[in-house]
């Protein structure tokens, strides 16, 4: 941690091995506050249920204290649900931050670009054609659903990027092509819902709204593994985002291989979004809203990746808490994020209209 002559006043540089950056107290504070809130909300969410457990007892059970019953309820029954929500939210938040940073468009996010829509279509296809015909096929469908969702999302991403490519990609065109691809995905999904029998249609509709209901450790592991691989990759690649924010030409002049770099980071973001969609269904608007809010909280020029991941997790777990407590009947979490997120998108659009560039 030594300063050099090129240091920005008030921003002491930090260097450790291959890592280098500047000390931003606001970024660190905001992120730590987010982590604290996340732990609190997660504990409240775990404590709620048929057998209420206080926040203190939940936290105690998590670190190994509490009695056996409490430990069993917390660790075996309730933690997987909250943990899935937390991981999925983190993946979505980071995916959104990367997408918005590499397209330099505050409106670009996996859900608007048709990625989650297509992942949903693929998953509904598996539910409609895979389930219900024997144990073996049913088990195959359970394994196949996340992979199908992943492939569907990747296919949509390739399609959107390819169709929007015309001597380079203009980010507004990217978003609009995404809207078109999304419309096709939605149409095919509703056709699949008609073709399926009513029980499969119900199952698919629950899945399509994004639900954390009935998640166990088997759901946590894949998304945890994916995050463990993808988050470091994304962070390692994120060094050039600052240069990219200055525009493609400047970034190339600064030595960033713009196209290769964008494709690599885009792939990370997409896989994060598709993995999240595969494990909890398409939870809307988290990837869109969180990076923008974090950028404002932190006061940065591009959406901060780690902070977005923390607040994505916070938003998803809070939405789950609201979904479980707001109404007598339990709602899928995706409905809550849609109700919170859609007005925010409209507000963003209204602001953008008045000539305020985000």
């Amino acid at each position: 941690m030594t300063g050099t002559g090129l240091a920005v006043p008030g921003r002491p540089p930090i260097r450790a091995g291959g890592f280098s950056g500047v000390w931003r107290p606001r970024l660190v504070t905001v992120t730590l506050v987010g982590v604290g809130l996340l732990v609190l909300v997660a504990a409240v969410n775990i404590g709620r249920g048929e057998f209420p457990i206080s926040v203190g007892d939940v936290l105690g059970a998590l670190v190994g204290g509490g009695d056996r019953a409490q430990r069993f309820i917390v660790l075996q029954l309730r933690l997987p649900r909250t943990l899935t929500g937390l991981l999925v939210g983190a993946a979505l938040g980071m995916a959104g931050a990367i997408t918005q940073a590499i397209t330099r468009n505050p409106l670009a996010s996996p859900d608007l670009l048709g990625v989650t829509g297509a992942a949903g279509t693929a998953a509904v296809a598996v539910i409609a054609f895979g389930g219900g015909s024997g144990v073996v096929v049913g088990a195959l469908a359970q394994v196949g659903l996340p992979i199908a969702a992943l492939l569907g999302g990747l296919l949509a991403a390739v399609l959107v990027y390819g169709l929007a490519y015309r001597r380079g990609v203009v980010s507004d065109r990217l978003v609009l092509v995404g809207v078109g691809v999304n419309a096709v995905a939605v149409a095919i999904t509703s056709w699949l819902l008609v073709v399926a029998n009513i029980n499969q249609a119900t199952q698919a509709t629950v899945w399509l709204t994004g639900s954390l209901d009935g998640r166990d450790w088997a759901h946590v592991v894949p998304v945890a593994v994916a995050l463990a691989l993808l988050v470091p990759t994304g962070l390692r690649l994120s060094f050039g985002l600052g240069a990219l924010a200055l525009g493609d030409d400047t970034a190339s002049a600064l030595g960033v291989r713009v196209n290769r770099y964008r494709v690599a980071l885009g792939l990370v973001a997409l896989t994060l979004a598709a993995v999240a969609t595969a494990s909890a269904g398409p939870i809307g608007f988290v990837a869109l809203v969180v990076p923008q809010i974090c950028q404002r909280l932190v006061g940065a020029s591009t959406p901060p990746l780690v902070t977005s991941a923390v607040y994505g997790a916070l938003l998803t777990v809070s939405a789950d808490l609201i979904a479980r407590t707001a109404l007598p009947a339990e709602l899928p979490v995706g409905i809550v994020t849609a109700v919170l997120g859609a007005p925010y998108l409209l507000y963003l659009l209204g602001r953008r209209n008045r000539g305020v560039r985000l």
Binding site: A164, A183, I188, W191, L193, A201, V206, A338, L345, N353
Partner: protein, 353 residues
């Protein structure tokens, strides 16, 4: 203005008397061609299906029915379905052209901007909470929903200087649709019977509709078309910009309200009858502008007729490609319309209205 649609092929000429005459006969010619196409597609729609009926038998069934099997199929199933298709096609085509005119946005369309989903959400709400079952009961919910969603779209369309960019409006549509879809699923998930009815309606289809529905939506449709016709001259002035229109003596608010009412009636009636069918208004409005030019007095009728042709053609195609079942018209139109949308977006210069 709207001349960009024809590209730079035609040099700007000062129209003389003969030009106007030639243009008028050209426009009437196109309308006649569309009418002829509509008759042809209508006959195909009556003849084609799970049980193909030869054209001669169709003719007999229409004019001199004797109560045979063909006659019953034609008069109770195919004819109402065709009539419904024509009505909904006209409604969606005119609504699309009106929305493009009012928002001055090339991507405006009831399906893409969430107006259809607004109507749909309110219909589901009406069915679920108030137990409304008849079309005449829930068509009012459809109007309410279409109205609310149109107001949101029009408000966004009038925000700020120069109006919204196509991106803004398209994304606003995505946001509104997404929200309404989520709320609708919250309702239908609570009750499997509602979900079972909803999924067949949500896909957008002319099949399995009661024979009387076409007759029931006719009055609303006619009212909407009259309002649209009244609105056309005002739209021509609004195309010059609000300030210019006001300077030329146009009551801008009144024009906007008339347009809003027309879009509400047309979309609400269409959605109540057939479910949210997207892309008809988008494709047809561009086609009509390409044929007739920017004059809304000609553009609206052309868009209406072309909408009917497109919807019926899509319905017939859907019946042919997936025999013995059928592909719903909403799916066919999405598969045809989305590439058209991408094509519009990919043009080097976005079409400006």
């Amino acid at each position: 203005m709207t001349t960009a649609i024809t590209g730079s092929g035609r040099p700007a000429r000062r129209p003389g008397r003969t030009d106007i005459g030639a243009q008028r006969s050209r426009r009437i010619g196109f309308l006649a061609v569309l009418l002829l196409l509509l008759v042809l597609v209508g006959l195909a729609s009556i003849a084609v299906g799970a049980r193909p009926i030869p054209l001669g038998a169709v003719w007999d069934a229409l004019w001199s029915p004797v109560g045979g099997e063909n006659d019953i199929v034609v008069r109770t199933l195919r004819l109402p379905r065709t009539a419904l298709g024509i009505e909904v096609g006209i409604a969606l085509g005119v609504a699309g052209a009106l929305m493009q005119g009012h928002t001055r946005n090339p991507l405006a369309e009831p399906g893409l901007l969430g107006v259809s989903f607004g109507a749909g959400f309110f219909v589901v709400l009406g069915i679920f909470t108030f137990g409304v079952t008849s079309l005449l009961g829930y068509v009012w919910f459809a109007f309410a929903g279409a109205f609310v969603a149109s107001v949101v779209v029009f408000l966004l369309g009038s925000l700020g200087r120069g109006g919204p960019t196509p991106v803004t409006l398209a994304l606003a549509g995505v946001a509104v649709s997404y929200l309404l879809r989520a709320l609708t699923s919250a309702i239908v998930l609570a009750d499997q019977a509602t979900l079972d009815a909803y999924r067949f309606w949500d896909v957008g289809s002319l099949a399995g509709r009661d024979a009387s529905i076409a007759a029931q939506i006719t009055p609303f449709l006619l009212a909407g078309l009259v309002l649209a016709a009244v609105n056309a001259p005002g739209l021509n002035l609004l195309a010059l910009g609000e300030d210019m229109a006001r300077g030329l003596g146009q009551h801008v608010l009144l024009t906007r309200c008339t347009g809003l009412a027309a879009v509400t009636l047309l979309t609400g009636a269409a959605v109540a009858a057939c479910g949210p069918i997207a892309f008809v208004g988008l494709v047809v409005a561009h086609l009509a502008r390409f044929i007739t030019g920017p004059d809304y007095r000609w553009l609206l009728p052309t868009a209406g007729l072309a909408g009917a042709v497109l919807l019926l053609a899509a319905d017939v195609i859907g019946r042919v490609v997936a025999r013995p079942g059928e592909l719903q018209v909403g799916i066919v139109l999405a598969l045809v319309g989305a590439p058209f949308f991408v094509f519009l977006v990919r043009r080097r210069r976005m079409i400006r209205l």
